[in-house]
């Protein structure tokens, strides 16, 4: 399912062949995690990493086309005022790039069509879901079929969770990863599909990349607090059909070094945090597929 960039190039879609992997981290209007997300991209080996304010995309000073790896960080864009990421989805769908007829959303669609990678974390995942980028069945990136809504507890929570990846998922970000431990920090992380058919298809197509699990990473867990929000089938992260778009509620950029781990003073841990592998997989994928 993971068509390579080379094929895309043959189809004449890829504009710039990246000798160097260029990552963009979008910020603005209440994005909060851009700094650590950019740091993760750098540690992962991305040759260039730019934190780009959305006003620079709208003004046309920066172009998505010039990058290969798009990061949509966590935060509270527009204060989550109309429901998480709703107002930002509305902005991306409708705002036009200055001096052109092109909408920001059009350039995003082209970015996807070019076979490039998008990672959405927390508020970024909420944005991808509400734009329809995820799960993006049949390449339809405009229809919302799942949502992320209020935690069953009715509370925002900061808590670390165990995540079980699906080894047979097409997701390029979680390749070779077995069990992942990361923090969630959200009030609206409960994944709800529109209906049973959508849910079944998510599983059938292996788009359920991550599930909240027990501490041995064996079983997906519905019980609080291991499942911190009551998410359907303990879903914590989704990818699209090609595995190149990935969104998750937990924060991989919050665990880049052992000292981020809540129990590093009492457990023997590798110096590198587990979250970094997700970014490294992305950068390596892009480099390999060049």
């Amino acid at each position: 399912m993971t068509g390579s960039l080379k094929e895309n190039k043959e189809q004449g879609k890829l504009r710039t062949m990246p000798q160097r992997v260029k990552s963009m981290v979008i910020t603005g209007n209440g994005t909060n995690c851009e700094m650590e997300m950019a740091h993760a991209c750098r540690l992962a080996g991305s040759d260039e990493v730019d934190i780009v304010h959305i006003s620079d995309l709208i003004s046309g000073e920066k172009r998505l086309d010039d990058y290969h790896f798009l990061n949509l960080p966590g935060g509270f864009v527009d204060g989550d005022d109309l429901g998480s990421a709703k107002a930002n989805a509305n902005r991306l769908l409708h705002v036009r790039i200055r001096g052109t007829e092109e909408r920001l959303y059009d350039s995003l669609r082209r970015f996807i069509a070019d076979g490039k990678l998008i990672l959405g974390v927390c508020n970024g995942f909420q944005l991808m879901v509400k734009l329809g980028l995820l799960p993006g069945f049949d390449g339809d990136y405009a229809t919302q079929t799942v949502t992320l809504t209020y935690n069953d507890s009715g509370k925002f929570e900061d808590r670390w969770v165990y995540l079980k990846p699906d080894p047979s998922s097409p997701c390029v970000f979680t390749r070779e990863m077995e069990g992942i431990y990361l923090p969630v920090r959200h009030g609206e992380g409960k994944l709800v599909p529109r209906d049973e058919g959508i849910l079944k298809r998510l599983h059938d197509q292996r788009q359920v990349v991550l599930q909240y699990s027990d501490s041995s990473f064996r079983e997906a867990v519905m019980a609080y607090p291991q499942n911190p929000n009551g998410s359907t089938n303990a879903i914590a992260g989704l990818c699209n059909e090609t595995g190149r778009l990935f969104g998750l509620m937990p924060h991989p950029e919050a665990y880049l070094h052992a000292t981020n781990h809540p129990r590093w003073t009492r457990e023997k841990l590798p110096e590198e945090g587990q979250g970094l592998q997700i970014f490294r997989n992305a950068v390596n994928f892009l480099r390999r597929e060049l």
Binding site: F76, T147, D152, S153, D158
Partner: protein, 993 residues
């Protein structure tokens, strides 16, 4: 045209807010409701077609997977009662603002200037309730009538589908903006009346000084030349009242105090601030000499110290007590986003890297009748918690440290301390970043939010006790997103060198921000008519002093003004030129062509004479406690662990994001199950480096009942001890002092003012003595002096409270230590002496006593202990370390054990002690400067030799068994409890909050 869009959940979708509301109705009001359903309502003003309204409802306003909507009809269905809650006119409606922006995007080019969206929420209740009960739910829980209105609909008289009549909270100001002259007569009673009725909080003496200034012939001549009348305008009077308020001027801290001690000896103190607070800092800086790492102290919005050669750290803590008493949510939200602007407006401006919060409340389980205008402490607790959650989390600043303190006297006014730290490059484009300069000719620019009537008289109102007439306009609601947009923009503008100086608009609004910056250049000239308003009709004086949030004032280089304004426009931030800074010596304010204020800068800032006050110290005497040592000390320990001041605060802590920005190294919750009470926060502000910052605090108002000198000493020691416990050294540790007092000025209302002032003097003297010995200079601070409630015959004064916060540099966060026991077999050490110091302790409080033997701090001994311990930690010899404070050794040992998921077997009689004859005293004495440490047996000798000069004893071991076994005096086992049951006792109290 007015339209209404309602958004509800689809059938079968869980309504988490509705469920939470149902639980709170039950917990808070003891009313049983079967079900609560919520519906979000948007009221739109503007010409919108039906087709467009459908698109708005289906698009940005609703989620197609879980929600449904109705345009101009009602979704409500099958309810017994409907309550709709919306804002009153002029109250900040953040969701409404976002909704307005979202609709404007849909309108695209057909921009509709008149478009405005307002929000409200419906609660549909099912259950047998009377109208009276529903009114109680509306006014007692769902709406705060100061800022919100509600409407109740009875389900029995409701026709399904019938639209609810739209309500538009439009601000209608009938008045034309005008400036009036105020007659200040030669009559003290009349002056008093003017001050009172205008909420000026000026004394008669201050009013006379103002009147005399305007009678001065030279002043009158200059005014005639400037084209303004000889008399004082309302703009000038209000401006002076703000600038001279206790809140802004700290008159009590700067007063001349005659202090008489218990022996009748008296001495004179010329300004507590200068002699004690600043005095200590100056002395420490002198001792540091060329190594001095303080950069900007007491002169700016926040204190600035060196972090390393490349970066500076900035820290400030503020209080927002009075607004939080009236509107806990808005008050606390404004508190946190307000203090954010202090480090942001210090020097050239800092990036914000952490928040700290300390809240003081009455018990949330308070069950006595409430005095008028007081909200139930549970409602204050939840409102404040939520306000700070929204302010902190949405701003992307980790809340790394804090605490909750409970005392019944915080019923009258809760204390809401909010602190923020920042970091900035030591130099920006070659210029030192900590220096603030303004040159004549620089442009005065205001950025961020717009001005409304919100926050008018905040500064003067908080300079008074809470009373019947406390103004509702003082209440504001912060808008973290508007502020975030502004700070994103200003950090870019800073790095591009587009402005020379920055300051925040807080208390006193433009009158303070422009007034203070103008004192750096020597004057200013601004036009209030240019200021962007939320709605028309504000009078010039209101524009000048409104404390509407999310605004910064800047001095912009004249040749960079276009670049500055262009960048602001591109990033969607409003920025407005108001005038320029001058060296005229005058604070010159116009409204269009008309001069409305023309005050000598010197009179404005220096015209207030020093207050003269009297203090007399009489040590209080409480009955000596008389109760037997309890037979079951295990039960006593569990009772102690469950006390409000000791129990787990996890339910609050988890609702704050404490790791955004990615540098968290020691979190507020630590241990085997991530639920033990961390002593202090450690974070890495620069992700490429392991250099860290330690943030900690100390607060112990209960000791004030006996002696505020001891209270302040203990607060300072506790803050430092907490920082040391995680691995901070004293080498680069700075403090912040935040005093919250009850009115200490003797008057009819405050007959015990001399005693309260003596309490203030003693606390300050302790501050001087202890910060000097520890070598921890205060770099900034604040005082809030009128924390009283007085209505009818009831007066409630808070216990005098000092919050001491510290920030310390840590060379390498990988050396940080947490409080949880690590390994079975590790040795348990107690450092420091336990004395019979239970006066003001939790143990005495539990038994209904205060006592007199308040803990005393031996700072010299403590300092050498802390330094030795820091060395042992840097050498990696310490497995765990925990501060011993509220609840003493018993509580500290139990916390270490259950946080580590391990048992413990200790003999507390081995702990260094003096004068102890009872096991309960040994377990629960709150002697200061003690720490409990666990050490691997392999490190025993090395550790003991490094700590050789400290009072210290090994009292037992960490065990693999899940029991906590304590041997006491006379060699008998006094406690044997499962750690799970101790943990449960500690966790259950506030678990559901």
């Amino acid at each position: 045209m007015i339209s209404r869009i309602e958004i509800g959940f689809l059938p079968g979708v869980r309504d988490a807010l509705g469920e939470k509301t149902r639980r709170r109705i039950f917990h808070d009001l003891h009313l049983s409701v079967e079900n609560v359903e919520t519906i979000e309502v948007y009221t739109l003003e503007g010409d919108l077609t039906d087709e467009l309204l459908e698109r708005i409802a289906a698009g940005p306003f609703s989620d197609p997977v879980i929600q449904r909507y109705a345009v101009n009809r009602s979704l409500a269905f099958d309810f017994d009662w409907l309550i709709e809650v919306g804002f009153r006119p002029g109250v900040t409606d953040n969701v409404g603002r976002t909704a307005t922006e979202a609709v404007r995007l849909l309108l695209e080019k057909a921009a509709n200037g008149g478009l405005k969206v307002y929000t409200s929420r419906q609660y549909l209740l099912k259950g047998k309730l009377t109208r009276r009960e529903v009114e109680d739910i509306a006014s007692g829980l769902l709406a705060n009538e100061l800022i919100q209105r509600f409407e109740i609909i009875d389900g029995r008289t409701w026709k399904s589908g019938e639209p609810v009549k739209p309500y538009v909270p439009r601000v209608i100001v009938a008045d034309q903006p005008r400036t009036e002259y105020v007659d200040l007569p030669d009559d003290d009673a009349a002056l008093q009346e003017i001050s009172g009725s205008r909420v000026l909080a000026l004394t008669v003496e201050e009013m006379r000084i103002i009147r005399n200034y305007f009678q001065d012939e030279a002043v009158q001549r200059r005014r005639r030349e400037a084209g303004i009348g000889e008399g004082i305008t309302d703009v000038e009077l209000e401006c002076l009242a703000q600038t001279w308020s206790e809140h802004c001027k700290h008159k009590i801290f700067n007063s001349l105090i005659t202090y008489e001690d218990e022996h009748g000896n008296s001495r004179v103190i010329d300004s507590l601030f200068k002699s004690c607070v600043k005095g200590s800092t100056n002395a420490i800086r002198e001792e540091l000499g060329p190594e001095d790492w303080c950069l900007s102290v007491f002169v700016d919005n926040a204190g600035i110290i060196k972090f390393n050669d490349e970066y500076n750290l900035v820290f400030k803590v503020e209080t927002h007590n009075s607004p939080s008493a009236l509107d806990p949510y808005g008050g606390a939200l404004t508190g946190i986003v307000g203090v954010n602007r202090d480090p942001f407006g210090a020097g050239k401006g800092a990036k914000l890297i952490f928040n700290t919060d300390v809240f003081c409340f009455a018990s949330p389980f308070y069950d006595q009748p409430l005095p008028p205008r007081i909200l139930h402490p549970r409602r204050i607790y939840e409102g404040v918690r939520e306000g700070v959650e929204h302010g902190g989390n949405k701003s992307g600043i980790p809340t790394v440290n804090g605490c909750l303190v409970f005392d019944e006297r915080f019923l009258g006014k809760p204390l809401v301390y909010c602190g923020t730290g920042g970091i900035m490059p030591a130099r920006i484009l070659g210029e030192p970043s900590h220096i603030k300069e303004v040159q004549p000719g620089d442009i005065v620019v205001m950025t961020g939010g717009r001005i409304g009537k919100d926050g008018i008289h905040g500064a003067t109102f908080s300079s008074e006790e809470l009373h019947e007439g406390s103004p509702v306009t003082a209440v504001q609601i912060g808008d973290p997103i508007t502020q975030k947009r502004m700070t994103d923009f200003l950090l870019l503008a800073r790095d591009q060198g587009l402005y020379r100086a920055i300051t925040d608009n807080g208390a006193g609004g433009l009158s303070s921000s422009v007034g203070e910056m103008a004192s750096l250049s020597g004057g200013c000239e601004i036009d209030l008519k240019k200021a962007p308003l939320k709605y028309a009709g504000l009078h010039p004086w209101e524009i000048l002093i409104s404390e509407a949030q999310e605004r910064m004032t800047l001095a912009v280089y004249p040749d960079k003004i276009d670049a500055f304004l262009n960048l602001a426009a591109k990033m969607g931030v409003e920025a407005t030129v108001l005038g320029r800074f001058t060296d005229s010596g005058m604070f010159h304010v116009c409204y269009g062509e008309q001069t409305v204020a023309f005050l000598d800068m010197e009179f404005l800032h220096e015209g207030l004479p020093q207050m003269k006050l009297n203090a007399r110290w009489t040590p209080p005497a409480f009955p000596e406690p008389d109760f037997p040592e309890p037979a079951d000390l295990g039960r006593a320990l569990k009772e102690m662990l469950g006390r409000l001041n000791i129990c787990s605060k996890e339910s609050v802590v988890r609702q704050y994001d404490h790791e955004v920005q990615g540098g968290s190294a020691v979190k507020p919750l630590v241990g085997a199950a991530d639920d033990g009470p961390g002593d202090a926060a450690v974070l890495r502000p620069i992700l490429e480096s392991f250099e860290g910052i330690v943030v900690a605090s100390g607060i112990c108002p209960r000791y004030s009942d006996i002696d505020t000198y001891a209270m302040a000493a203990c607060a300072i020691d506790e803050a430092i001890r907490n920082a040391v416990a995680v691995g901070a050294s004293l080498r680069r540790m700075a403090g912040l002092d935040n005093f919250c007092w009850c009115d200490p000025v003797e008057s009819e209302k405050t007959p015990d003012g001399r005693y309260k002032l003596a309490q203030l003097v003693r606390a300050n003297e302790a501050l001087y003595d202890y910060t000097r010995i520890y070598g921890v200079p205060c770099i900034s601070g604040k005082d809030s002096m009128k924390n009283d409630y007085m209505i009818g015959g009831t007066k409630i004064s808070i216990p005098p409270t000092l919050l001491f916060s510290v920030i310390a540099r840590m060379d390498d966060v990988r050396r940080a230590v947490t409080m949880d026991a690590k390994q079975p077999g590790d040795l348990v050490y107690v450092l420091g002496e336990t004395r019979k110091e239970l006066g003001g302790s939790e143990w005495y409080a539990l038994n209904g006593f205060v006592g007199n033997s308040v803990p005393r701090v031996d700072a010299r001994k403590a300092r050498s202990r802390y330094e030795a311990l820091c060395g042992a930690m840097e050498a990696g010899l310490v497995a765990s370390c925990h501060d011993c404070s509220d609840g003493g050794l018993g509580v500290a040992l139990a916390e270490i054990a259950f946080a580590g998921g391990l048992g413990m077997a200790v003999d507390v009689s081995l702990a260094p002690s003096a004068g102890i004859t009872r096991n309960d005293d040994l377990l629960f004495s709150e002697s200061q400067s003690r720490l409990v440490v666990t050490v691997s047996p392999a490190d025993r000798e090395a550790f003991e030799s490094m700590m050789a000069d400290s009072e210290m004893a090994c009292i037992g071991r960490v065990t693999v068994e899940q029991t906590f076994v304590v041997t006491g005096l006379q060699g008998r086992v006094i406690i044997e409890e499962e750690i799970a049951s101790l943990k449960e006792a500690w966790q259950q109290t506030l678990r559901e909050m």
